[in-house]
């Protein structure tokens, strides 16, 4: 398996939550095309489609839902652990 890009995974989670590339890009502070590129390469790495894009909306595929449910939780856990990191 190729190395996981956590950046792309995180981007994906935001799009899956927002159901919109535009809103997700605004929230992440990046361009829509950079966002779309990043998610496409994640899809290519995994070899499966995570999102179905139509002109008006974005929906999450079954594989995307699996990723969202199984990975999103752990990313949140990691964020929570970092908040507890014992700073000096």
């Amino acid at each position: 398996m190729k190395k996981i890009s956590f950046t792309a995974v995180r981007y994906f989670l935001v799009v899956a939550e927002e159901r919109s590339f535009k809103r997700a890009a605004a929230q992440l502070g990046i361009s829509s095309s950079a966002l779309s590129h990043s998610i496409q390469s994640l899809e290519d790495d995994l070899g499966i489609r995570l999102l179905t894009r139509t002109t008006r909306s974005v929906s999450v595929t079954q594989a995307g839902l699996l990723l969202k449910d199984n990975v999103g939780r752990h990313i949140e856990n990691i964020d929570a652990i970092l908040k507890k990191f014992p700073h000096d």
Partner: protein, 300 residues
Amino acid sequence: MSQDLHNDLYDFIAVLRAGSLTKAAAELRVSQPTLSAKIKRLEDKLGASLFIRKSRGVEPTEKGSWLFEQLSGEYDAIETAMRKLTDMQEEVNGVVRITAIDYAIKTIIWPKLKEIVKHHPKLQIEINNEYESVDIVSRNFDAGVRFGEEVALDMISVRIGPDMQNVVVGSKEYFENKKIPFSPYDLADYQCVNLRTSTYGGLYEWEFEKEGKSIQIAVNGSIIFNNAYDVFEAVKAGYGLAFLPEDMVQPMIETGELISVLKDWCPLWPGLHLYYPNRRNPSRAMNLVVDTLRYSKEPS
């Protein structure tokens, strides 16, 4: 939160598992200085040093050890989940997006790719019909199709069709009571069905060649389409002449319904080519598509 943080943390865990920067760098397929810089960046961000560098590898500091214990289970779970996703397809999988003119789609791309789609249920192919030559990278296509092998430097070109020829045709009815044109310059006296090649571009100028001399002729007529198949329909219905791929019109020339003219002016073109960015690690799906479309002279 910084976007790179999770990647750096993942590398941090890899280093501790491997027990040395050198080994971890090899596993992660990055250079050791790159990996060192990432770890340094992580340490700066967290405001703490995470490793003690020893002569034979690294050992975690107290904080490094805490972080490792807290995080390694989370990263394991993520890896397992990701692997499950990838394992959903042990076969060729993935998405390949191609943009091409309809003629290429109908004569080569679809007839060939429909065979592999049947055998690789996890392969997804998107085919986009477009007459413009587009910047495939910025438009997120994996490949495009054009005549000839001239492509930008960072692109690869693979022949997918034989040399081909466009011919000028008109219906038998249209030619009734008309003389046959003998040079492209005579076309001014005929109704010609025009083709617009892109939304904002001009009309396609018919390309001729004789005795080493190439000319392009802008033709006139009452009808303009933006695809060759509609042009073909108009010609069959007797609305004028058109400049179309020979294999498209050949069956009707044989039955006598269409008449081909100016044949000695119609140049041979170096077939259709697939072009795509030169990537070091093309996906298996892309490799399969390229191999399937690749032209071989042996009839398959």
